[in-house]
């Protein structure tokens, strides 16, 4: 037995020899792939070479083929193979090795992926800035995440000043500056150039802007008219002229309009400011329609009236993880206009599915086939999708069709909730969202409190290209409303478990013990008697025609993402059908 074993060892030794890594023998060839996954990754137009190890391949014939690829195959009868493609995709590569003693085959896959060139997204498209000397101008761009290291570089007038992502510009020296931000990695580079002019206070340009130019209200009421934004208004004098008569003059840019004569009134809002020893006047032309008394256009419910909402007039969500999302959000890519977005919202709610309002300020405006009467107790209900420890409150606004044109273009009145008047509640909060520069990026925002941040892009859960509504044409849009303090917190302490406690009462999508039908349709119920005007004073509305729900919290709750109110439907509590 031992003799036989020795003889076999001698035979093997005589018929085999090692030549480097190649072993020659009368054994059939063997391919050894050097990658345990069998999957290789390369970039578009970037060659990749696959070099397996082999055994028993003396005088071997190598054959390589690529499934689904019509391009030029570089390597034929070579032990290694180089592949390049200008098309993203997966390519199956077969290698076949044949010798006199047999054949071996292996298949690997080459995934060709896009280059990961960094993309910079600034807040909006503004590239020219004018600031007062000594004032700070902070830039917080986002750069699309890549799997390869990316470096940042800020230069001021050609001199590098920072390698951080954010940069704060400040100068006491008057003049023009060129600030540039570049992001670079091995795949490419992106750069944004900003022009900054530093001025004296007198040189700072004045502007003011209104969100609307026409106002409607029923006679006997008053409304507040105020600009959406005043820039560099220090020392400005504002005059409010109605039909040629000056009604108010002073340093307040806000006017309480209580015109009592029915009809259309021409209102001129005139701002006068002195800049560089020159007087500048900027006039805004507005129209105020004092409408017929409350009740004139009331559409009383009758036997055929439906309790359910009957039309979505506007759906303008803030950016969010469910916006544009096809897998669970119900979008299908055709929602590229405001009208189609409304149809989307209608179809969703008709199917008893939720409609997401996105982050703070996102809203939906819904109407009924009749006016909802202000009865005793709760008057209407709004369905959401709250549950214990998952409340994403939305503030409710109501409107009468004061001008009788059937459209929600009159005056909104907020319904008070448990947080109304609280020190932590901010009225007239405004937030501006900026369209990202590329797919797969968070949405940046800034607010009128001097803060900025972003709606995070949660690739692991919602991977649609953009969270910014597809049908919003502007590269930035501003949403205004009442901000509630966020209550969400990380109960686990390690980011794994976020809790969103409920608020006491008065909000949609809120697991309230007071007004939520917790065990049923998750609807919160509302009393029209809680309507208040611009000053927080109760305004006795006999009925309402339109209801607006608006996300009321600006918060990012870890992996859960932005706090966003969801609405599933609305109904009149006074009708039993």
């Amino acid at each position: 037995m031992k003799r036989l074993l020795f003889l076999l060892m001698v035979i093997v030794a005589l018929t085999s020899c090692n030549e480097g890594s190649l072993i020659t023998t009368e054994m059939p060839p063997e391919i050894i792939i050097d990658n345990t996954s069998g999957v290789y990754t390369t970039k578009v137009d970037r060659p990749i070479t696959i070099t397996p190890q082999y055994k028993y391949v003396e005088d071997a014939l190598y054959q390589w083929s690529v499934e689904g690829y019509d391009g030029y195959i570089q390597s034929v009868n070579e032990p290694s193979f180089t592949f390049t493609s200008s098309e993203v995709g997966s390519y199956y590569v077969q290698v076949k090795v044949t010798t006199d003693y047999g054949t071996d085959r292996e298949e690997v896959r080459i995934d060709v992926v896009d280059l990961e060139i960094p993309t910079i997204s600034m807040m909006g498209t503004q590239r020219d800035y004018t600031i007062q000397q000594g004032y700070e101008l902070m830039f917080a761009p986002t750069v699309k995440a890549t799997s390869i290291p990316t470096t940042y570089c800020w230069t001021l007038n050609g001199v590098m000043v920072s390698e951080e992502l954010t940069y704060t510009f400040c100068s006491e020296e008057l003049g023009d500056y060129v600030l540039a931000f570049a992001a670079e990695n091995e795949d490419g580079r992106d750069e944004v150039v900003l022009n900054i002019r530093v001025c004296t206070p007198d040189q700072m340009p004045f502007s003011w802007r209104f969100d609307q130019t026409t106002y409607n209200y029923a006679i006997g009421r008053s409304i507040r008219i105020m600009p959406a934004e005043v820039v560099n208004g220090e020392g400005a004098v504002y005059s409010w002229v109605v039909d040629g008569v000056t009604m108010q003059e002073g340093n307040s840019s806000t006017w309480i309009c209580d015109l009592a004569q029915e009809g259309a009134h021409r209102v001129q809002a005139i701002a006068t400011v002195v800049k560089d020893d020159a007087q500048i006047t900027v006039t805004q032309e507005l129209v105020v329609n004092v409408c017929a008394p409350e009740g004139t256009y009331r559409r009383a419910a009758h036997a055929a009236s439906s309790a359910q909402w009957n039309k979505v007039y506007e759906y303008t969500p803030a950016p969010g993880q469910f916006i544009n999302e096809t897998a669970t959000g119900g979008f299908d890519g055709t929602q590229t206009t405001a009208e189609v977005a409304c149809l989307y919202a209608e179809q969703r709610m008709l199917a008893d599915n939720w409609v997401s309002l996105g982050g703070f300020g996102g809203y939906i405006v819904v109407g009924f086939d009749h006016s909802i009467a202000n009865n005793n107790g709760y008057d209407f209900a709004v369905k959401g999708n709250c549950f214990a420890n998952s409340s994403e409150p939305g503030v409710v606004w109501v409107m009468q069709d004061e001008n009788g044109d059937g459209l929600p273009n009159d005056t909104w009145y907020e319904l008070r909730g448990s947080e109304s008047g609280a020190a932590t509640t901010i009225q007239d909060y405004a937030i501006t969202y900026y369209r990202p520069e590329a797919a797969g990026m968070p949405v940046q925002w800034s607010d009128n409190q001097g803060n900025n941040g972003q709606i995070e892009y949660l690739a692991a859960f919602h991977s649609q290209d953009y969270y910014y509504p597809m049908w919003v044409e502007a590269d930035a849009y501003t949403l205004r409303g009442t901000l509630l303090e966020s209550r969400c917190y990380d109960k686990s302490g390690n980011g794994s478990y976020w809790v969103l406690p409920e608020y006491d009462w008065g909000y949609v999508d809120n697991y309230s013990a007071t007004d939520c039908n917790r065990e049923g349709d998750k609807a919160n119920t509302f009393d029209i008697s809680n309507a208040v005007n611009y000053a927080g004073q109760v305004i006795a509305l006999q009925y309402v025609d339109f209801v607006k729900v608006q996300t009321a919290v600006n918060a990012q709750c870890g992996w859960i993402g932005e706090n966003s109110t969801e609405v599933t439907g609305m109904y009149d509590c006074g009708i039993n059908n």
Binding site: T36, A327, T328, V499, R518
Partner: protein, 354 residues
């Protein structure tokens, strides 16, 4: 994303959610099904109480949906997670209703229920009078007496709190039961069934999703790797082969970062592995590397559940579609040829063969 998101969301809600289920009653229907079919647990939408149970007969290629509700005139509850059969009784684990129902396999009528569970996930029988029920959001595995429908004890799991607890699927080798710890965990626990104590643990990758035992007494688990920006970490999913005797990792196969691997299954012979990773994949337990070509390609589907017929090796894959409408089941022969397709309930997630 799919199961992970649903489960993680359920985690968020569980703290104060005990007893939130509200049963709805209807009219009872009589069933008398025979043959060897497969049950499908349809999770339904979290907090909507629309979980359901379907039953498919492969011979007649017919499906009966909502069989629990129709047989018992009572809704199944919120998030049907899994089902197991023992001694001709089906045990349906309803996660967010905190209950396990025992049902007759022919009539689908309820025979009993185990209640007061935290967030049950899977059930494993040790005998007619003893079973384990794993939990999400609890650091204990519940020991129950199925005959009396009672909780009889608990297995304390180390290095977990009520808020980070997660025990999932179980396999048994000798007197030991092994369980994968998934949500924000990275371990396989070894439990001595005689003492009902955890006697050992093995660290694997982030979030092992499932656990099976092959013909060679090798356990296989597949991690999902977490998710981007997860506080617990994010890495490429990995398929592990673990020797049940020595409780050591013998082989591991790493996927790519961003892959979403889950639902590891075995065929009856225990020699072929199947799993989901966008597509449906298959490989022999003896292979030395992962396949590069899927067994079944995704077709714009959201594959969510997977099983292999013990009778003929047919592969059943569940498509959750959009998590809102009833999901669809595709049945393929072992050579990948489509045999049948049918609709089940909302979010079909798990299968159980008679």
């Amino acid at each position: 994303m799919k199961r992970r998101l649903v489960a993680i969301v359920s985690v968020v809600a569980l703290l104060l959610c005990s007893g939130c289920m509200k049963w709805e009653y209807g009219i009872e229907e009589e069933f008398a099904v025979g043959g060897d079919g497969v049950f499908i647990t349809n999770e339904g939408n979290f907090q909507y109480g629309n979980a359901s149970l379907s039953y498919y007969d492969p011979t007649t290629m017919t499906v009966e949906n909502e069989v629990f509700y129709r047989a018992n005139a009572m809704k199944l509850g919120d998030v049907a997670q899994s089902m197991v059969i023992h001694d001709n009784v089906g045990w349906v684990i309803v996660n967010n209703s905190h209950v396990v129902f025992a049902i007759d396999l022919t009539t689908f009528k309820e025979r009993g229920r185990i209640v007061n569970l935290t967030s049950p996930r899977y059930m494993h029988f040790l005998s007619d009078e003893k079973a384990y029920i794993t939990q999400l959001w609890d650091n204990r595995i519940f020991i129950v007496n199925p005959k009396r429908y009672e909780i009889t004890g608990y297995i304390e799991c180390p290095d977990m709190t009520m808020e980070t607890g997660s025990t999932e699927q179980m396999v048994q080798y000798g007197k030991y039961v092994y369980v994968n710890c998934w949500s924000y965990q990275n371990r396989i626990l070894k439990i001595d069934t005689e003492t009902d104590r955890v006697v050992d643990e093995l660290v694997v990758g982030i979030q092992p999703t499932s656990l099976v035992l092959d013909k060679n007494n090798k356990m296989w688990t597949i991690t999902d790797g977490g998710y981007e920006n997860s506080p617990y970490g994010y890495e490429a999913p990995t398929l592990y082969c673990i020797d049940a005797e020595t409780f050591t990792i013998e082989k591991s196969f790493r996927f790519r970062l961003g892959d979403e691997a889950s639902e590891l299954q075995l065929n009856r012979a225990g020699d072929m592995l199947y799993w989901l990773n966008d597509d449906v994949w298959a490989m022999s337990v003896d292979d030395d590397r992962l396949p590069v070509r899927p067994f079944l390609e995704s077709r714009g589907t959201i594959y969510y559940g997977l099983t292999v017929s013990p009778a003929n090796g047919d592969v059943y894959v569940a498509d959750a579609i959009d998590y809102q409408q009833p999901g669809k089941i595709y049945r393929y022969a072992s050579d990948g040829v489509l045999q049948d397709e049918f609709y089940a309930g909302i979010i079909p997630g798990a299968f159980c063969w008679k």
